[in-house]
């Protein structure tokens, strides 16, 4: 087969090596516009898992790579003039120049024809000269541009600016530096690669970049600026240019990677933000997959299809992780409220591939620091300066909200909905709550409790507005308090236009067939096409409603509730005022966000006044309606800051259900980013759920400052109905499900030092 490869980067060269090895009869020509020794960029990084793949694919080049590279296992983080180190990650770095040189030598040895300084301006000019054209021509691929209607590329530039520099200083760790000056916040990603030099990437947001005048700066001026900014870390060493410019990272995706006998490889097909250091690795793994597919399938079309089918899912996982990492660095300013340990932990766990348990395994010393710091902050909150020598994992650290001390961070709620009769909770519900309390929860959460009969979600919803309700709840809560140290949290709710529905066993928001009661909402709109049209609350109705909430709050105190939660989310009554989708009022309670939040705030103030000062009051709030035109994170931040001023102590981070057709990116912990966002934006502690079932998830979330309390699923509800041991099964499943992405790449990954895995073929 005659094979033409455009581009002599790592993907093109490595592809040529593997194809030629598989079949020496292939006539392979590489066309490269630059000279053999011209290269941009400094070092490249591989994890040991990638190296194992290289070993299997071509031992000689593998040997050449491993003979040259620099190995290190630590990550250093400079933040607020503190240095934190975390070890146990394995990275191998090598100069890009050396990598290219050794791959070129190997190509020459195998008889691959390499034509450098050969500019291809028109893909059509190559026509007829090949049986297969491999486009390894990089992020600005000419081939991709030429057949844009087939590949349908999407090129999305990132929001941050970065410049790729070298540094004449040897590092002993992957190093992150965060430095704030009068222009803004800058961060550095730096790592060693050739024994004398290190890569030094400086990144900042667009505003900072302009404020610092870097948009108009020459390469020299940029270097001078950075040298001054990072003088303490550079310790007199120079930064080195390499045709360096401030650019935006472009994420490349393509609808397909192949067109007839043309195939895209490496950056031409896909890019992933440099902060997870996977670009070269993905490109070279592409080459391995392509060579394997061509070797296995005699038919070119099948082979190219198999190549894409094999690589696409892997690449997409890395692109997803890279997107999370990129978004982290673009918004890193949001995290500067965190203490150095929290900040570092958050940074290391930013793309969810590394967890608390992983870090503990890699560096027990760092794990201990995380635990101790977590407890130190608890004591600091108590006005005491205590830094204990040993501390429990974050999940088992207490939390104090006003006069309430919660023994640990796990919150449980019954997995069944209540079976109340006339609003009085039944014995079964009471027993379930009590059981959860005794099962080790720091706090148990009741179902949403209605402040009025008309405020119930279903005819089975529990209420708290009459003596009979008070007596029942008092009995339940007393039993919990007598039998366990668990605290009791109760959401007070009015279902609004989502009321008068049937029990949720057979679906959500199905209107009651018989016995429906009239509904109220911010505006007279039905929730679903089949729902009753509610009446828009008038002024008198709103005043009555406010008093009803306050009355229930008063009863909740009498019943012994420890933490009261005012429900302002999920499309229920108060939520319907907040969202522009459901509040169409033209009075002073509709329109701007300030006006839309007026009524919920009036209710909050009334409840705060009725609720004892020493007891904490929380609000359950949609951080986003998760639908176009709805209430979003910025609105939620405004509401949260206002609530904080009005005496709110905690937010429950929710999303969706303001209209029936909402969907979210469901997965384990899918609400965590929203909790983190609102917590950072408002400075209020948060409680978050989103299908959390393991201590590792909870510890990761708490230690990274993403939430303060976690709503966990009672373990017996997550287990399989098989006879195998449930907890073990759950953990093993999880381990398998995440194993593939976790083990790869830097800088938060790298495989645990003790373990070198062989490359696994696809599932």
């Amino acid at each position: 087969m005659k094979i033409t490869i455009l581009g002599a980067g790592p993907a093109g060269l490595y592809g040529a090596i593997l194809l030629k090895k598989a079949n020496p009869l292939h006539e392979i020509t590489i066309l490269e516009r630059n000279a053999p020794d011209a290269t941009y960029g400094w070092g490249v990084v591989f994890s040991d898992r990638t190296l194992a793949a290289f070993q299997e694919a071509d031992y000689k080049s593998y040997k050449a790579i491993t003979d040259r590279f620099v190995l290190w296992d630590a990550i250093d983080v400079y933040y607020r003039d503190e240095l934190l180190r975390c070890g146990g990650h394995i990275f191998a770095g090598l100069a890009r120049k050396q990598l290219l040189a050794l791959l070129q030598r190997r190509c020459a040895e195998l008889g691959v024809s390499m034509r450098f300084n050969t500019e291809v301006a028109d893909v059509a000019a190559l026509d007829g000269g090949y049986d297969l054209l491999i486009a390894a021509d990089g992020v600005n691929s000419l081939v991709r541009k030429t057949f844009a209607d087939i590949f349908k590329p999407s090129l999305v530039p990132g929001k941050a600016r970065y410049i790729w520099l070298g540094m004449e200083k040897v590092l002993d760790a992957f190093t992150f530096i965060f430095r704030e000056n009068e222009h803004g916040l800058f961060q550095v990603h730096s790592y060693p690669f050739d024994g004398t030099t290190s890569t030094f990437i400086v990144e900042c947001d667009e505003t900072t970049w302009r404020r610092a005048g870097l948009d108009a700066a020459s390469e020299d001026e940029s270097i001078t600026y950075c040298e001054r900014l990072f003088a303490p870390e550079l310790a007199g060493r120079r930064l080195l240019p390499n045709n360096s410019k401030w650019i935006n990272f472009v994420t490349v995706k393509n609808a397909t990677w192949r067109h007839g006998n043309i195939v895209l490889l490496g950056d031409a097909a896909h890019t992933a933000h440099f902060s997870i250091g996977s670009g070269t690795k993905l490109a070279m793994e592409d080459a391995i997959a392509l060579a394997n597919a061509l070797d296995t399938h005699p038919d070119l079309d099948t082979a190219l299809g198999e190549y894409e089918a094999e690589r696409r899912p892997v690449v997409e996982l890395f692109q997803a992780a890279a997107a999370e990492s990129q978004s982290y660095f673009e918004n890193v300013k949001r995290y500067t409220r965190l203490t150095p340990v929290e900040f570092t932990f958050n940074l290391l766990t930013r793309s969810r591939r590394i967890t608390y348990d992983d870090l503990r395994l890699r560096d027990p010393r760092f794990g201990n620091i995380v635990d101790r710091e977590f407890e130190r902050r608890y004591w600091a909150g108590q006005g005491r300066s205590i830094f204990t020598l040993i501390a429990p994992p974050p999940m088992f650290a207490p939390l104090t909200l006003r006069g309430l001390r919660v023994a640990n961070r796990a919150v449980f709620t019954p997995a069944t909905t209540g079976q109340a009769v006339s609003g009085v909770p039944c014995t079964g519900d009471a027993l379930e709550l009590a059981r959860l309390a005794q099962d080790g929860a720091g706090m148990v959460l009741t179902e949403p409790v209605a402040v009025a009969t008309e405020g119930r979600i279903t005819s089975d919803s529990a209420c708290l507005h009459e003596d009979e309700h008070l007596r029942a709840w008092t009995r339940i809560i007393q039993a919990i308090h007598t039998q366990s140290p668990a605290k009791v949290a109760m959401p007070l709710n009015h279902a609004g236009w989502r009321g008068a529905t049937r029990p949720r066993g057979m679906g959500l928001d199905r209107p009651l067939r018989d016995g429906a009661w009239p509904l109220v909402s911010a505006s007279a709109l039905p929730y679903t096409e089949r729902s009753q049209t509610p009446r828009a609350l008038d002024r008198a109705g709103m005043e009555g409603m406010r008093d009803v909430f306050a009355h229930s709050a008063h009863l909740a105190d009498a019943a012994g509730v420890d933490l009261l939660i005012l429900h302002m989310g999920h499309g229920y009554l108060l939520s319907s005022f907040l969202s522009p989708l459901t509040n169409r009022r033209d009075d002073e309670y509709g329109g701007t966000l300030e006006q839309r939040m007026r009524f919920p705030l009036e209710v909050f103030d009334a409840v705060r006044a009725a609720w004892p000062h020493e007891k904490p009051l929380a609000v359950a709030l949609n951080v986003t309606d998760s639908v176009r035109g709805g209430f979003g994170p910025d609105d939620a931040a405004t509401v949260a800051r206002t609530l904080k001023e009005h005496g709110c102590d905690l937010l429950v981070a929710l999303a969706g259900y303001v209209v029936p057709q909402t969907e979210m990116p469901y997965r384990r912990g899918f609400l965590t980013p929203l909790s983190e966002r609102i917590r950072n934006d408002s400075g209020l502690p948060t409680l978050v759920g989103g299908y959390l079932t393991t201590a590792d998830e909870v510890n990761t979330l708490l230690a990274g400052g993403r939430a303060d309390l976690c709503l966990m699923l009672p373990p017996q509800e997550t287990r399989t109905r098989s006879r195998s041991a449930p907890t073990v099964a759950t953990d093993a499943r999880e381990a398998r499900a995440t194993a593939d992405v976790r083990e790869e790449s830097m800088p938060e990954a790298g495989t645990p030092a003790r373990e070198v895995r062989r490359v696994e073929k696809k599932e």
Binding site: T416, E663, Y666
Partner: protein, 311 residues
Amino acid sequence: MRVGVGLPSTIPGAPGHLIVGWARRAEAAGIFSSLGVLDRLAYDSFDPLLALTAAAAVTTRVQLATAILVGPQRNTALLAKEAATLDALSGGRLVLGLAVGARKDDYDAMGIEYATRGRRLVEQLATLRDTWEDGAIGPRPAREGGPPILVGGLSDAAYARVARYADGYVHGGGPPRAFARAADKARAAWNDAGRPGMPQMWAQGYFALGGESAAETGTAYLRDYYAFTGHFAERIAGELLTTPQAVAQFVRGYADAGCDELILFPTVADGDELERLASALSGLATIEIPATSATASANAAEAAARRAGQP
């Protein structure tokens, strides 16, 4: 975990008597808890609901499951009637798995615009239960509220539909860890929506246990059946379970991932395949052996109560 077996109703050339006999013998084997069918229009295959109806006539115990039926291709009122009929005829054994499907040519053949499939499924899911309860379009299904509804698919919209309208999730196939990931998403959506308990989890796989020639025939069938997915067909064919060991590990993987019922579909139109599967499954510790018909109805009642969220 319970295990069901698929009818050979989408294997081209399978004779009618094979389908009916398969159903009868599957129940007699004792180990299978359900019979499953797939839905394809523009293909040499039997209609799924009619095939299940024939199966209902020769069985008394096994559940009859569509995994899945392409709901949006069917008129909702008629589907409601057919499902209620089958449920009533079978004494409450229908499990209605619905999804949008992935074959545009089936939609074209049905004369329904492919782009409307999501919207049509949502409308259908919102309507089915009401129709069964209203009684204007009879018959009454055997069970109050009608047969359980499962929703399939891998999009966020699919998980949201499970949480809003269905009783459970039905996975489209793949290795256990692909199922585990999807099941987590379905549970996350369910739990977030405030539905009581957990969604029923159904899944499926393919087998060909008659040695090398059966494996070849099965592989060829899967390549053909999934040809519309392009290169993915090779992937699916590669996952074919061709040895008792592969079946055992597959079953174990699904049980560990929290699957409630796994339906294994044949890929070879050979009656002996059923016995081979039964033999491969016998003695596996993770399999729940179905109760006899006497206790089955009691269990069904309990399951219905559990679905309704009653303790």
